[in-house]
Amino acid sequence: MSSPFFIKYFLSRLGFYILTIWITLTLTFIIPRLVPGDPITAALSMLSEAGALRGSQEIVDEYKKLFGLDKDMMTQYLSYLGQILRGNLGISITNFPSSVSTIIATALPWTIILLSTSTIISWILGTFLGALAGWRGIEKKRFELLSVAALLLYIIPYYIVAILILWLFIYTIPIFPRETGYGSINLTLESILDALRKSSLPALSIVISSMGWWFLSMRSLIATVKREDFILMAEAKGLKSSTIMWKYGFRNALLPQITGLTLALGHITAGALVTEIIFAYPGIGWLLYQSILQLDYPVIQGIVILITFTVATANFIVDTIYPLFDPRIRR
């Protein structure tokens, strides 16, 4: 690829990335201000009625100071952008005086461990089964059955799979640990293994529910490759059929599938919020659920910003790197 073209492409992607972040921040600024009344005060008064709050005046003062709530809109907006860009997401209402960043940082590793492991396992299983089904042909009965199952998993929402798994393994055949992990994950081997064990059931549900998509996409990719001329050529040369499949078919169909994986890994923060809620798994989704129940608006807002940011960043990285690796999409 010629470098002036790449620089132009890179700059346009960068511009789009910055625009997405800016629009998100602006939305998170505007939405709370569209509500009649002040949501912070409303949330605080609801909580103090329930007698669940200490230091409510401090929070209001802290917020006024942080976000300049007594100033005019433009000043508020600029000060808001400034605070967020410096990584200050505010202070939690229910866990005063912990900062939102600290609370999110406690939940984030749980989500990352759960989603990265299960996404990769699901991808591997789905890709290989899909390749087999696409290559060996749909005419074989067992692959047809597999395809129907994959289609069903693709259609049915992931949280329904999660509910069925929960019912099967915790209520009907209780073989999985019912207790889930709380607190923070340290980077010790023990702590990581513990988190993995506790993630087993939610992970199983994510593996099963996302496998359908990987299977279907790999099946159609490899079925397309199978019709290419170079496969015919390889057959004409008399190569072993397994060699043709893995070295010629599989490798050529793999690239879009890898892009899919990269994107999915970038989206893991948003990937399975409801699964975490169903299994009471202490990641970002569970934190979001708790914050919604407790009207902890700063935390809800912090999670929205964090997830949009990671998703936009992942898209940006994939968009930028992909043309470097795949000569076919260089224009």
Partner: protein, 299 residues
Amino acid sequence: MRTLSIATEILGKILHLSTFLGILRDLLRIRAFAVGLIGILALTIFSLIGGLVTSYDRTYAGAFDPQLPPNPRNPLGTDLLGRDIYAQLIYGLSNSLAIGIIAGAIGTLLGTLIGITAGYFRGFVDSVLRLFIDVNLALPSMLVLVLIASYFRGLDYIGMALIICLFNWAWPARQVRAQTLSLRERDFIYLARLSNMGRFEILVREIMPHLTPWMVANFVNATISAILTESGLSIIGLGPQRSMTLGMILHWALSYAAIYRGLWWWWATPVIFLSIIFIFLYLIYMGITRYFAEREVFA
């Protein structure tokens, strides 16, 4: 009388009624489409007729004894608060379907309008609209909806459908835009331009009819995503608190640990009905895409 006949003629031209019926007849020959359509119609009729043999006050807390398994008085049992689950299902089903259809229809129409404008006028208009479309698709819609719904609590199902529309138009818009771009280069559009047809007339009379299949497929797709979004938001606790939906039944069941308590009739009801709605809608979608793939409309 004359005005009326002209009016019907124009309406018939716009809707292409005979073409539409012809397409429908061909579609019904595709088994997936027929099964899906009949299934969805059956569910709709069930939710409408079912309302005749139940009443809304059966969904109030304390209407019956709590945790009753299915019995003659409560065909699907009652939940932990003593609410009849069959009654919840009937109202939930019709509200969920309504959310899907309202949000799907508005999203598709809005998306088509934006997509046509971008694709037909190109240039600056297109750049601006495409930016809107791309940004909208890049945002994790579920999360922004979480933010909106957490501030605007107490929405009913119509309000829910309307906020879902905020993120339901971009995908149809992108598809329609691409389709319009390719359509406007076809010969018959040149011919129309040569015969001095106005831009707006070309849009409505020449381009719109060719977009109808896209709109239908997108409508089904947008309906699926709206029902999916609604149930997701409801489980998180941001559903329409004042209306019953399938997602809300699931929300109550999950927050009262219905699975651990063994109240299968409570959680399984919304699970089964949500699943079959998605399967039927997907069958319809599959049927439509197969139909148009055979005729190479989806080029």
